[in-house]
């Protein structure tokens, strides 16, 4: 599946369109794939990601459910027990919380509990993160909750191509995947051809989006474009930044991350969710444990503030932007303030 796509066959496509295409192809390839959730049928999802699926595959394959997240996920567990591959949509990040008991007490541990006799080939799609001017409860970055639960795979695409490939891989996985869709990238475009064969990335492999030598930015999902922009801007300051897109937070690709940090000697983790208790702490700890003797400076984090997600008119101050990343990169010089103990 690695045929090169001729440039002429590539057309601008949005991430939302690539996700739709992934669902459609998965449903066409495997009759056990069922899409379910609130508004996924007639409406095609509030972000139109399931657009046309009910019409093409029927309401039994793309089902508008009652408004009940625990019920949606709980019934999906039973469907998976009977050999189906449900793809569940949780309409917004914070709407998924009622389903947490099902997720944590059953989905995540069913394989383990039954010694592999019952598996959970479930994909739980969660549009997540801010930056779209959503009102309260529509912009949470909830990845840390999922990461804290053994048995769940946590995947988040940042590019149009990955949106397709990773969703196909998630649906094909025999284990549950929390598939976090960065909603502010839904309308990001890339030249991409859904008709051309695309290599489906295995889950758990990070991608180096930009080669560099002086520091590594480690990021995922909605923060990738910000990091790419910051890396370009940093050239003016003499920084040659490498950018690693994790793509999958669990399984975590220690190998790619550590190899990069060993090359560059400096690392900054960038994500939208709050820093305290956020994924950045775990990533920084892993890097420190594995790459300590290669580090020229402490691993730093650029994260959202440790506050409940702010109202839309204030969210730009909360979300990590290019300037905050550049300021943090500047602190990697490991001199002045740091040596004086005034780093924070």
């Amino acid at each position: 599946m690695t045929t090169t796509v001729p440039a002429t066959a590539r057309k601008p496509a949005t991430m939302a369109q690539a996700l739709t295409r992934a669902l459609r192809d998965a449903m066409a390839d495997d009759p056990s794939v069922h899409v379910m959730g609130e508004d996924v049928g007639t409406l095609g999802g509030v972000f139109r990601v399931t657009d046309g699926l009910a019409k093409e595959f029927g309401e039994d394959r793309c089902t508008d459910t009652a408004l009940a997240e625990a019920g949606i996920l709980g019934t999906a567990v039973g469907m998976a027990m009977y050999g189906l591959r449900p793809v569940v949509e949780m309409q917004f990040d914070a709407f998924a919380y009622p389903a947490f008991e099902q997720l944590i007490s059953h989905v995540a541990r069913m394989r383990n509990r039954t010694r592999g006799a019952l598996t959970m080939p479930l994909t739980i799609r969660v549009p997540y993160g801010g930056g779209i001017g959503g009102v309260e409860h529509h912009s949470d970055s909830s990845e840390a909750y999922y990461l804290a639960t053994p048995g769940l795979q946590v995947v988040t695409p940042a590019t149009v191509e990955d949106a397709y490939g990773l969703l196909r891989a998630a649906i094909a996985s025999d284990d549950p995947v929390v598939f976090l869709e960065p909603k502010r990238l839904y309308w990001s475009k890339a030249d991409w051809s859904p008709d051309a064969p695309t290599e489906v990335a295995p889950l758990g492999r990070a991608a180096i989006r930009r080669r560099g030598s002086s520091a590594t930015l480690i990021t995922y999902g909605p923060s990738l474009p910000v990091c790419m922009e910051a890396a370009e801007a940093a050239r003016a300051e003499g920084w040659d930044l490498e950018v690693v897109d994790l793509r999958s937070l669990m399984p975590f690709d220690d190998e790619t991350v550590c190899a990069s940090v060993r090359r560059t000697g400096r690392a900054v983790v960038v994500h939208e969710s709050n820093g305290f208790g956020g994924p950045g702490g775990e990533i920084a700890a892993r890097i420190t444990e594995r790459c300590f003797h290669h580090l020229e400076a402490p691993v730093l984090r650029v994260a959202g503030f440790d506050i409940p997600y702010p109202p839309p008119m204030l969210e730009r101050h909360h979300l990590p932007g290019v300037d905050r990343i550049l300021d943090t990169v500047a602190r990697l010089q490991w001199e002045s303030d740091w040596t004086e103990g005034r780093g924070e």
Binding site: L73, G74, T75, M81, L84, T114, L118, G204
Partner: protein
Amino acid sequence: MTVLEQPGSSRNKSSLAGPPPTWQPRVDPAPLLPDAEPYRLLGTDAAARLDSGLLTRLYTQLVRGRRYNAQATALTRQGRLAVYPSSTGQEACEVAAALALEDRDWLFPSYRDTLAAVARGLDPVQALTLLRGDWHNGYDPHEHRIAPLCTPLATQLPHAVGLAHAARLKGDEVVALAMVGDGGTSEGDFHEALNFAAIWQAPVVFLVQNNGFAISVPLAKQTAAPSLAHKAVGYGMPGRLVDGNDAPAMHEVLTEAVERARRGGGPTLIEAVTYRIEAHTNADDATRYRSDAEVETWKAHDPIALLERELAARDLLTDDFVGATRDGAEQLAADLRERMNADPEVDPMDLFTHVFAEQTSQLRAQAAQLRAELDAEAAGHTEDAAGTDGSAEEARP
């Protein structure tokens, strides 16, 4: 201006349009309502039509179940089980649940429903794995079509709905029976499961064993509904209220509901009124929240005694039959005792085997760490052993 004062609302009724098209006329709830009193067969004229074969089958299972409960409870005192939530007094519900299902059907038990799983044919030791603590679930759910014993309350109910729905989508005539206690009916998952089941007309039967208490909290503090079976009406499914200690009544009501579901008639909610004779578990002190007199009243309404009366009236309660039944139950208990008294073999490396289909690099590293710790432990033991026995001997000139 209030709503009533709006122009054209109350003053000019003739100009009012009918209800908007999305407004659905109310369905007469009467056919869905449960009986005022729990449905009973034993001690009524209707008992005459019961099949003697069924009665003796139920009796055998009840006696075995009672003995199983007693043996499992004894095993907790010996430290062989971490805990055992006894279903003594509720055996009729457990047995009827198992016998009302066909092989192809699925059972979704709660943690108190070990007996239903055993009556369905599950190996008694495998059924106790969770409570013994050597693994969370001791059997392959597909083998007997029994979902893992569920500890969180009511969370297995949506699973039953999903499985039944999936079976119907695949064209299989499979019914799921989901068991829950009275306390579980207060959980959100109970509501969502019943709602989904009714909307999808899923072939699922919900069996609530109302045994009076959720640990220590009585039903009156759990619900203000006239009965738990009444809850069915709001979802659009029939509710049945049945005497949970009347084994043939339980069997009949469950069988009807299962057959109705299989025919495409949709879900049923059954409330079995019963009583937990023992405490919630061996860790509970039931004297703090209920009186001995109350327990004695319920003991007088014992499911085995009720059935014995009917069997005696039919001259079926012969010494031979009772003796053979008791011997069978003793054999079950003896086997259970013997097998449970053997230390289970646990492999620490199993901790990493079934987290994911494919181990992550992190889990591989942790497995290697544990392996090394185990090897060091084993080597230490060898050294210790050598130090006290062989090596000292060898060290002598």
